[in-house]
């Protein structure tokens, strides 16, 4: 029986890696997904014939053995499908954060359950298993509450701005150190249950405290980091249960989260440390209206002016940002592009890696609006083309198009790679109002002589532009 289980796990691991490989290109991605789904079927199949379950099957019978599994599996599937089928694409970051929370909770619960079985009931737990369970509970708990916090912030249930208090970083680090000491102590003496439960509870608090000071626009890094932790928690579960498919899948997930958080940090020109402990920028974009810097004037353009500029353009690059998601403007962007393209205008999209609230957020939204992915360009691919482009249309983006990042060392975003929207012959910025972006700094682009601003909700404005053009 053990051989069969291991064979099925081996096939599952192979299919996971092969499936992941499919994701390296858009046209093979769905095939990869199907392979991974198949892998999951093998992994589950291998588990329901696990020797411990089979032993119970012989004693208790089919119904007693599988009743909880079947019940929770069906309820879980129903919830999973309901959430995934109904959630709008604009809310994807919240959806991902929530699922990290579930993943972390599942790992933490399995850890506690293992501890209870081997230590509390049977009274014999070796040190290595204890260490593995310790890490599992630590990462699981941290991921659980941290992701719930991220979910709350992204969905607006809790204020998205950075919540700070005195000696925040010091106390957080001290608590983290304390948790680690508890982990070591409980590894040395697994029989000390008080220590174990204290160690299991601490990460729950830590998750909340760590994410609280991080503001909305830094969420891409937080989500990717929690992605990584969820993977490490799954891997630790594998060590605790001597289950290789868990170790492998967890390691892959951990690596993926790690890569993405490096990509995100680089795109913001900031270190992990700065994102996690910086409580960067005291003003959040949703928070506080600030008047434009004294003296400088922006040029306002009416919807008609904007429509005229666009209809006269031979080439347009759209620069979307989080504002597009907030206004749900992706579909009308697609309609506009269709009209312009029918006129012979070339329309492309410049996607900054940190535009939106998670990696790839803008790509998914534009794909939803039926825009072919071949028109969605990465920053490096398209940045040289702005200077030969007639119109850059900025839809709800701010810091990612701020030229100050290129030449003003005094700016807090100096050094961050930005889209060269300022180099286009003219630039139309769609903005709700004259508010600074996340960094709380003025955007030079808005005051440039070749820039015009059209105020209002991006979706309304674009709808009117589309009406004017058609």
């Amino acid at each position: 029986m053990v051989d069969q289980v291991e064979t099925l796990y081996l096939i599952a691991s192979f299919l996971f890696i092969l499936g992941l490989r499919g994701l390296t290109a858009a046209h093979t991605a769905r095939r990869g997904l199907i392979l991974a789904e198949l892998g999951m079927v093998f992994a589950i199949w291998g588990t329901v014939i696990h020797p411990d379950i089979m032993a119970n099957l012989e004693i208790a019978g089919f119904f007693q053995t599988y009743k909880w599994i079947l019940l929770t599996f069906f309820i879980g599937s129903a919830i999973g499908i309901a959430i995934s089928a109904l959630i709008p694409m604009t809310r994807m970051p919240e959806r991902i954060a929530l699922s990290h929370a579930f993943g972390g909770l599942a790992a933490a619960l399995v850890g506690v359950s293992e501890y209870y079985r081997e230590q509390v009931i049977a009274g014999h737990m070796d040190h290595t298993t204890m260490a593995a369970i310790g890490f599992e509970v630590l990462f699981g708990g941290l991921t659980f509450t941290g992701s719930l916090m991220a979910f709350g912030k992204l969905s607006g249930l809790i204020p998205g701005r950075n919540i700070t208090w005195p000696l925040q970083n010091q106390s957080n680090i001290l608590m983290f150190g304390g948790t680690f000491v508890l982990l070591v102590l409980v590894t040395v003496d697994p029989s000390n249950q008080v220590l174990f439960y204290a160690m299991a509870a601490m990460p729950l608090l830590l998750g909340i405290l760590f994410v609280a000071p991080i503001g909305g626009a830094d969420m891409p890094v937080v989500i990717t980091l929690l992605n990584s932790y969820a993977g490490l928690a799954a891997s630790a579960t594998g060590f605790a249960l001597n289950n290789n498919v868990l170790i492998i899948a967890g390691a892959i997930d951990g690596a993926s989260g790690f890569i993405l958080s490096v990509v995100m940090s680089k795109a913001m020109n900031r270190s992990f440390r700065n994102v996690l402990f910086g409580a960067f920028g005291k003003v959040d974009e949703e928070d506080q209206a600030m008047a434009a810097a004294g003296g400088e004037r922006v040029q306002e353009a009416s919807v008609g002016d904007a429509a005229m500029l666009l209809s006269g353009a031979g080439s347009v690059i759209v620069c979307p940002g989080y504002g597009m998601a907030v206004a749900q403007a992706q579909h009308v962007v697609g309609e506009l592009a269709e009209i312009l393209e029918a006129n012979g205008t070339q329309v492309r999209y410049a996607i900054h890696p940190v535009a939106g609230r998670m990696p790839g957020h803008m790509n998914v939204l534009l794909a939803e609006a039926k825009i072919p992915y071949t028109s969605l360009m990465e920053l490096e691919e398209i940045n040289e083309d702005f200077k030969n482009t007639d119109v850059a249309l900025v839809v709800g983006a701010n810091d990612v198009v701020n030229p100050a990042a290129k030449h003003n060392p005094a700016s807090s975003i100096y050094g961050m790679p930005v889209l060269n929207a300022d180099l286009a012959r003219s630039c139309i910025v769609l903005k709700r109002s004259m508010r600074p972006g996340f960094a709380g700094i003025e955007n030079e682009l808005f005051f440039a002589p070749n820039t015009v601003l059209t105020f209002g909700d991006a979706k309304d404005t674009l709808t009117k532009v589309v009406e004017a053009l058609s």
Binding site: M40, D52, G76, A106, V110, A251, I252
Partner: protein
């Protein structure tokens, strides 16, 4: 003791393989990638299933059952939403492509 080292070797190699493969995923697909790895990490379902089905004791069974619930939401929901996203990614002509895919 040997088992833990074997596990560490597997972890190390899998992390490198994961790193190498995922490095090649274009930014275009980063959101589907997160949903995808999220579904795969729902593999902790495997651990939960044993806890819920082996009936070691009541506490383990209840904790295991809750864990199965959470992990299933991730596995089923994660694969579902990844598919929903990937179906939206079309090359040039959306209509011709949709027909070709079906």
């Amino acid at each position: 003791m040997l088992e833990i080292f074997l596990g560490l070797y597997i972890f190390m190699l899998a992390a490198f393989v994961g790193y190498g493969v995922i490095k090649g995923v274009p930014a275009l697909l980063h959101t589907p990638l997160m949903a995808f790895t999220n579904a795969i990490s729902g593999i902790s379902l495997v651990g939960s299933l044993v806890a819920a089905g082996a009936h070691y004791n009541n506490v383990s069974t209840v904790l295991g059952a809750i864990a199965v619930l959470c992990a299933t939401i991730n596995v089923v929901g994660g694969f579902w939403i990844t598919d929903r996203m990937l179906r939206m990614f079309k090359k040039q002509d959306p209509k011709a492509d949709a027909a070709g895919d079906a």
